[in-house]
């Protein structure tokens, strides 16, 4: 019985609960039990009693949800996977989480992530890595690695994460699920621990596109606590499009020659063919500045991070290292002990890019490149409905494989960063399984579709039609022989 309940998508469960064919309490309890079996390092905290306290919902009516540990949740440990926030229990709840609770979704737990959302493998967590449910020797991607592995590994029906340069889409791709980064401003950032404020955006990680649409409809909206939140003009409705007739898809000229694994390339080309079979039109379009996305991103995001993370000083919350010296010594000792290597690297990079004498050459130029990238997309959208790319240049890679080479790790974000810089929505859907270049089990490959700002409905409709045609049914544990 329990196993059958866990088979339902969040949307199916929602329908059955609304029709009173399914007890919302039974459904919730089945998921609490499933989450308790976490062997992947997904949960940093689990809400074993989801009827009580700040995360409680007395009468659940929506599927319970896993929440990335970057969302402040009243009375519940919230660390952003950093030592420096050890012991922190926020006195308030993030708007996105509050909206979930108000909609009737119990909070199953808080999920592991790269520290302060800085990373693409979840290996930068101060509380240990997350294992990819498809192959436990490999990473789930990051930074929302815990949320992605929870959904793929049967530890949550759906989850929320955050995406600054690909942190929802890339782990969704590596775990074989759907990940949506909405338009910047679609969902409130209030209570979301800040990494790079001009880029951070909350979004859904789900089994399928319909669940993503349902979750987005709960999360989106203007919020008086975040003056950059504008919401969507209309809450998304469930997608039902069956073909792609009359729609034009742009493939960036520059990426066909770009570095990606051969298996990823094969799935990408096969998916383009499927789009044509559904009546969509494929053509190449220039996005000449997209290849500079990584450079611009790794100046802008660290610069904003160096400023946002200045608040962690051992005074108001989290940990402190006591010293014999003055207050500055205390700050320096606390930050040295509280931050991990990648966070220190980004703070250093950002501080350098903003420092006197380098500001114009680095931060100033990066902001101009951002303008050019946004203009490239605007140009493409004059002739096309969507821009499509692989989500990640590789399938899931091995734990420890890229930890000694920061730049190689950053290249994971090659296809996802340009959309973040332009602020436009993009979705990753599973498109098939492929072997890594070095050989090994077949692993999920994501296909990314990007749309103009606030065109979420159009994006979800097209993604749904393509998802139905692809019919991705593989599950962790049975993928390698299929």
């Amino acid at each position: 019985m329990t196993a059958e309940l866990l088979e339902l998508s969040a949307l199916e469960a929602h329908g059955a609960m609304s029709a009173r064919e399914l007890s919302a309490e039974d459904y919730r309890d089945a998921w609490i039990e499933a989450a308790a079996g976490d062997e992947l390092g997904v949960y940093l905290w689990r809400g074993e009693d989801t009827t009580a306290g700040a995360v409680g919902v007395e009468r659940p009516s929506v599927a319970p949800i896993a929440v990335k540990d970057i969302f402040c949740t009243e009375g519940v440990p919230t660390t952003a996977a950093s030592r420096i926030l050890e012991g922190y229990r926020p006195p308030y709840t993030a708007t996105a989480v509050r909206r979930l609770i108000e909609a009737g979704a119990p909070i199953l737990g808080k999920t592991n992530m790269d520290e302060f959302a800085m990373g693409s493998s979840n290996e930068n967590s101060a509380y240990g890595p997350v294992l990819n449910p498809w192959d436990r020797t490999r990473v789930p991607g990051g930074s929302s690695g815990g949320s992605a592995a929870a959904v793929a590994g049967g530890l949550a029906p759906w989850a929320i994460g955050t995406d600054t340069g690909g942190s929802i889409r890339q782990p969704a791709s590596l775990c074989g699920i759907v990940g949506l980064k909405p338009t910047y401003g679609a969902i409130s950032r209030y209570g979301m621990i800040a990494f790079a404020s001009s880029l951070d955006q909350c979004g859904p990680l789900t089994r399928d596109v319909s669940d993503a649409a349902l979750l987005l409809s709960i999360l989106q909206g203007r919020d008086s606590c975040d003056s950059t939140s504008v919401g969507l003009e209309q809450a998304p409705r469930l997608p039902d499009r069956e073909d792609l007739r009359g729609l034009r898809f742009a493939v960036p000229v520059e990426i066909r020659s770009g570095a990606m694994e051969s298996g990823v390339r094969a799935i990408f080309e096969a998916t383009l063919k499927r789009i044509e079979d559904l009546g969509g039109e494929i053509a190449e379009a220039p996005l000449p500045h997209a290849e500079h996305g990584i450079s611009a991103y790794y100046l802008i995001a660290p610069a904003e991070a160096s400023s946002n993370l200045a608040r962690y000083d051992g005074v108001r919350y989290g940990m402190r290292v006591e010293t014999e010296g003055d207050v500055v010594e205390m700050y320096e000792a606390t930050r040295a002990a509280g931050f991990g290597d990648e966070v220190k690297r980004r703070i250093m990079l950002g501080t350098y890019a903003l420092s006197s004498g380098y500001y114009e050459a680095y931060y100033g130029r990066a902001q101009k490149v951002r303008t050019k990238i946004a203009a490239d997309f605007a140009g493409a959208f004059e002739d096309f409905d969507f821009v499509v790319t692989p989500t990640s240049p590789t399938v899931a890679f091995g734990l420890g494989e890229k930890t000694d080479d920061p730049l190689a790790m950053y290249m994971n974000d090659f296809f996802t960063v340009p959309m973040s810089l332009a602020g436009i929505p993009a979705i990753s859907i599973p498109a098939g399984l492929a072997e890594p270049d070095g050989g090994g089990p077949r692993l999920p490959v994501g296909f990314q579709i990007a749309a103009p700002a606030f065109a979420e409905q159009h994006l979800l409709d097209a993604a749904y039609a393509l998802e139905q045609a692809i019919g991705f049914e593989a599950r962790p544990g049975e993928g390698s022989d299929g």
Partner: protein
Amino acid sequence: MIEREQVLHVAKLARLRLSDAEVEKMAGELSGILEHVDRIGELELDDVPPTSHVVELENVLRPDRPRPSWPREVVLAQAPDPTEGAFRVPSPQAEA
């Protein structure tokens, strides 16, 4: 190429204490990243306006009415060293 002295200067600005080994490693890693990033130096960007934010922002205003804030004890409950209704920190000038 980032020199050791620059790493120490930036670390001071960022209020980070780095060990000798970290300084060494950071110099190499930052140099590698900046070498890649330097490619944007080749782009013609003179007349391009910078983008700091992608959403067209307008001022959001609300009436300036006083409203209750969090009780002091709720906020202090999260502090590592709350004392007498305040955050206690070491003296700005350490005792000799």
